[in-house]
Amino acid sequence: MIDNINYINNGDNNKIDKIIEVNNLVKKFKNITAVNDISFNVFKNEIFGFLGPNGAGKTTTINIICTLLPPTSGTVRLNNYDVNKDKYKIRNSIGLVFQDPTLDDRLTAMENLNFHALLYDVPFKEIKKRIDEVLEMVDLLKRKKDLVRNFSGGMKRRLEIARGLIHYPKVLFLDEPTIGLDPQTRNRIWEYIIKLKREKDITIFLTTHYMEESEICDRIAIIDEGKIAALNTPENLKKIAGSDIITIISEDNSRLINYLKENFSIATEIHKENEVRFEVKDSSKFIPSFIRHCPVKILSINARKSTLNDVFLNLTGKEIRDENASSKEMMRIHARARMRR
């Protein structure tokens, strides 16, 4: 197993440009520990990602940082404000795009943004200008006066991102920003997020359970069962998994495993679908020498670059999966169905 400590890279702690500091955060709900003693920092102007399955504690942590839930213990600071003491100052400095749509679909895009601007006390003279500015950012300026109910899922999500920006927050939180969207729309959302980082002085904190997507982050925390299993840049995390993944199907898998163990000191076992799966530093060098003396007949051999999915599998021993739907989850599914109508 991998020693996790080596893979936690929290950057230089003496750096002054920390925007979020979380220390020994614990959150318990009755007898369930949703967040189990986690610590991490987020730096100004980075895209920081939380990667993990549903129920890992991602949303709970975000809700605590956003002052929607009180921590059971530990300290959380955002922009140097404490979540317990300076709630309203924190609320003023953040924008939040929720997992579930919170737009009023009988109102127009402009009305939705206007309400938000009023709640955040954006100066009256500025509101019109800012609405145009954020709509332009997400390419919705032409739809300004359209009812939100006529928007597609991707447009709604873009509008929510625009709404989260209208009061010029220091940190924008995006909780599963691409959930429920088709792959093409998802890519566009990511393009907007990258553009946002480039053009604005803003820190982006996002969660996702799509492996591919977390690769746009500057740093990723892999979170599972309320703990941070690893925190590093996507490139460094991928190194943890070993560089290449090889899967083999042979006529006699147990002999193959023995052969791998004796000749290459690779410990492996049979995975699902009768595959033998293991990692090597460089598959192009490994495969020729492996094939040359292999005593078993190989039916198929496949080599590929490791992905964050492999990192997750390595660190937690399981694949990112969807949890069973709780009653709240059922309400959420219902809510989404309503929004899509």
């Binding site: 919170t102 109102l107 006390d121 709404r163 309400m331």
Partner: protein, 256 residues
């Protein structure tokens, strides 16, 4: 302070805008009371004649303010209860993370829901000529604050309940076990003056009976079904509004 007032205004305005955009809801808000008044009301009125009583027309006149009360009460209650849903999956979630105090959110929601309930109640006044009730400009001027006050009482009660509710299922239970009995015992559908003592007692401790009595006295004047003097009705309704609003504000602030 300016900021908080702006927050209250924003939350209020959103409820109003949503109401006027929702055409099916406006139609429903007219159709349902019409159904109660003309189908149920006319049916009941004629059944009294069948059993030997007179006064079918008086019954309709009696029921008319009851139907207005019903509309106001149910609209205000459901609006308050929408908080349960809205807090998890709607606009309210967005409001709760904004820098607006919980007090302003409760006040804004209360005023918004009550305004919509008042408008819906006043729309029904259009049926007055059909049940042969004279509505003059004075009684309308009295009814505007009166329906608003009745709505505020229920709305603040609903908000205080919603603060404690975690799921929509609990809301169904509350509707069946709290709202319906309170409605039946409010004197909206049948007069309580001639009711058995135990019913009368239950009605007296039912805060809704005071709002219904208030609206009825304003609409049809002094009548045999009146339970209390008008000023008592107004004072009790004001008192309930004040107490329930305070509880709602405290509960929401505690949860922050």
């Amino acid at each position: 302070m300016r900021k908080e007032l702006l927050g209250v205004y924003t939350i209020w305005l959103r409820d109003i805008k949503k109401f006027f955009r929702d055409r099916p809801r406006i139609i429903g808000s007219i159709a349902q009371p019409a159904l109660f008044l003309f189908v149920l009301g006319s049916g009941l009125a004629s059944s009294f004649q069948l059993f030997g009583g007179g006064g079918g027309q008086q019954f309709l006149a009696f029921m008319f303010p009851g139907i207005i009360s019903m509309t106001v009460l149910f609209t205000a209650f459901f609006s308050a209860m929408s908080i349960v849903w809205d807090r998890e999956f709607g606009f309210l979630k967005e409001v709760l993370v904004s820098p607006i105090s919980r007090t302003s959110i409760v006040v804004g929601k209360n005023l918004g829901g009550s305004t919509v309930a008042m408008i819906q109640g006043l729309i029904i006044l259009a049926f007055a000529p059909i049940v042969k009730i004279n509505i003059n400009i004075i009684s309308i001027l009295k009814l505007v604050p009166a329906t608003f006050l009745a709505a505020m009482a229920v709305s603040s009660f609903g908000i205080a309940l919603a603060a404690k509710l975690k799921s929509m299922q609990a809301f169904q239970v509350l509707t069946n076990f709290i709202l319906m009995p309170m409605f039946f015992l409010s004197g909206a559908l049948f007069p309580l003056t001639n009711a058995p003592q135990w019913l009368k007692f239950l009605a007296r401790i039912n805060p809704l009976s005071y709002s219904v009595d208030m609206l009825r006295t304003i609409i049809i004047g002094k009548n045999i079904t009146q339970l209390h003097p008008l000023n008592i009705d107004i004072l009790v309704t004001l008192g309930i509004t004040a107490v329930m609003s305070a509880i709602g504000i405290i509960l929401f602030n505690l949860q922050d």
